[in-house]
């Protein structure tokens, strides 16, 4: 078990070093990066929006319920929804969901290419397959996922508004006042650090799982599942470490 862990970590490091080699043809890598940006970004917009609106709504309702009858001012609900969205729910939950959607898709796509000998075909042509298959995905994810996280934070805040203001839990002015209170700009930095780190984790782990898949549909399924499970665990671990480092 321990040997396996070190073996896989070693293979992961070798793969990543090779992935950062000089591209054979920049234009081909750029084309692939744009395709991946479209896949990751546009392909995930609806799911991210849906999740974010409910997270914002649930957060607002939950805190409205918790603060009911206390001396804490009602406008704090807006403040809590905003900070929770920026610091935690937008980067972490969005990336956990993207690990399931984008990560499993990457592992299955690259794994399928391995099994159908597409990777061998590229190798024989002289293509550095780790670079061609992984680098564009990494760049695309690191650019697009922070944008999705930004959108998620906005939508979560809107979700909180929709869930509380129209039903009379608090007024529009109170919610907006909460949004404008106690704003710490550094939280935005933390959000982007998290988003970029999680994007790197979910992409590299998923590509690793797909790249080294062995033959058979069962193995492909396992690789896809492992991509999600390991990405999620590492994202949560990284979340803890980032918070520890940036707030300590």
């Amino acid at each position: 078990m321990n040997f396996n862990l070190f073996y896989n970590f070693g293979r992961y490091m070798i793969m990543m070093r090779s992935a950062f080699s000089k591209p054979e043809k920049l234009s081909m890598y750029w084309k692939e990066t744009l395709r991946q940006m479209d896949d990751i970004g546009v392909g995930s917009l609806i799911v991210v929006a849906l999740i974010s609106i409910f997270i914002g709504a649930v957060t607002a309702l939950q805190f409205a319920y918790q603060l009911d009858g206390t001396l804490v001012p009602r406008y704090y609900i807006g403040y809590i929804v905003r900070d929770l969205a920026i610091i935690e729910s937008a980067p972490t939950i969005t990336c956990l969901v993207l690990a399931g959607k984008v990560g499993s898709n990457m592992a299955a796509e690259i794994g399928g290419m391995r099994q159908k000998e597409h990777i061998d075909a590229m190798e024989i042509m002289g293509v550095n397959t780790t670079a061609y298959l992984i680098l564009p995905r990494l760049i695309a994810a690191i650019v697009v996922i922070p944008l999705l996280v930004t959108l998620s934070a906005y939508i979560a805040i809107i979700g909180g508004y929709i869930a509380t203001v129209p039903v009379g839990d608090l007024t529009s002015e109170e919610y907006v006042r909460g949004l404008r209170s106690f704003f710490v700009p550094f939280n935005i930095v933390m959000m982007y650090v998290k988003a970029a780190t999680f994007a790197f984790i979910l992409t590299s782990v998923s590509c690793f799982q797909g790249y080294y898949v062995s033959n058979g549909s069962i193995e492909l399924g396992k690789a896809s599942t492992n991509a999600v499970v390991y990405s999620n665990i590492l994202i949560l671990l990284a979340d803890y470490l980032i918070v520890l480092l940036l707030t300590g």
């Binding site: 043809k25 081909m28 000998e117 061998d120 075909a121 190798e123 024989i124 042509m125 293509v127």
Partner: protein, 254 residues
């Protein structure tokens, strides 16, 4: 010319290749035949550089492939074309884009130059007008031909074919054989074909090597196949009842 020199290959405890030495001549179809599990695919993957041998060398003319650095290996790979058993066409690309992929990746040609070369290759494999089709919209035979077009688009010096006729009807299989034969002769390239198709053996086998349980047990050409008294070769060639009956009939009629 490619030369394999005392190739051994093991996977964990299992020794798959046991000291294979052979030469694959330029301008000829060099066939590797043998039963499933004989080690043909492993040998082909070693020759093409996808697997590293446990021991032994592979020479591309005067270059010892496994002793070269990464850059030099990549330079050799630019001289190699390969047709895979399952064609290995990229699903998300059209026929034209598949064939153009090596040109896009490794040349600085203009779009027109690339298109001209792609169209020439598609014409060569009799697939004119199939440019915009996706692999999923083509038959197995067409996919093999697209695979050949992609393999020859960079004008390789060495062509590898892994079971080029598997899954094809006899007529299409013959067409693929004829294509490989003519491409080999016209371009004077070293072609290595991994097959257990008897029509290929008798049709285009300039040099034939029989592998059995990881060992080279017979070499010769298509004319020597029927005359050989090698028991393993005869068992392999005449494995099917149909061919056995043909052989018996031929013997009866002198």
């Amino acid at each position: 010319m490619i030369r394999a020199e005392n190739i051994f290959k093991s996977f964990d405890e299992a020794e798959v290749l046991k000291g294979i030495s052979m030469t694959f001549e330029q301008g000829k179809n060099n066939l590797i035949i043998g039963r499933s599990g004989a080690g043909k695919t492993v040998l082909l993957k070693i020759l093409v550089g996808l697997f590293e041998p446990t021991a032994g060398n592979v020479w591309y003319d005067k270059r010892d492939f496994f002793a070269l650095d990464k850059k030099a290996k990549r330079a050799i790979r630019m001289e190699v074309g390969m047709l895979f058993q399952g064609s290995a066409l990229f699903d998300s690309l059209t026929v034209e884009e598949n064939v153009m992929f090596p040109l896009d990746m490794f040349t600085n040609w203009t779009k027109k130059e690339k298109l001209d070369r792609v169209n020439y290759c598609l014409e060569r494999v009799e697939l004119v007008g199939a440019n915009d089709k996706y692999p999923s919209e083509t038959s197995g035979g067409m996919q093999k031909r697209v695979g050949i077009a992609r393999a020859i688009v960079l004008q390789p010096k060495y062509l590898f074919c892994d079971e080029p006729n598997s899954g094809l009807d006899p007529k299409t299989a013959l067409l693929i054989d004829e294509l490989i034969q003519s491409i080999t002769v016209e371009n004077n390239i070293t072609t290595i074909i991994n097959t257990h198709d008897m029509n290929s053996v008798m049709g285009i086998g300039d040099n034939i090597a029989l592998l059995h349980l990881g060992k080279l047990v017979w070499t010769g050409n298509k004319d020597e196949v029927l005359e050989s008294d090698n028991e393993l070769l005869q068992k392999f060639i005449f494995a099917s009842p149909f061919l056995q009956r043909l052989r018996d009939a031929a013997i009866q009629h002198g």
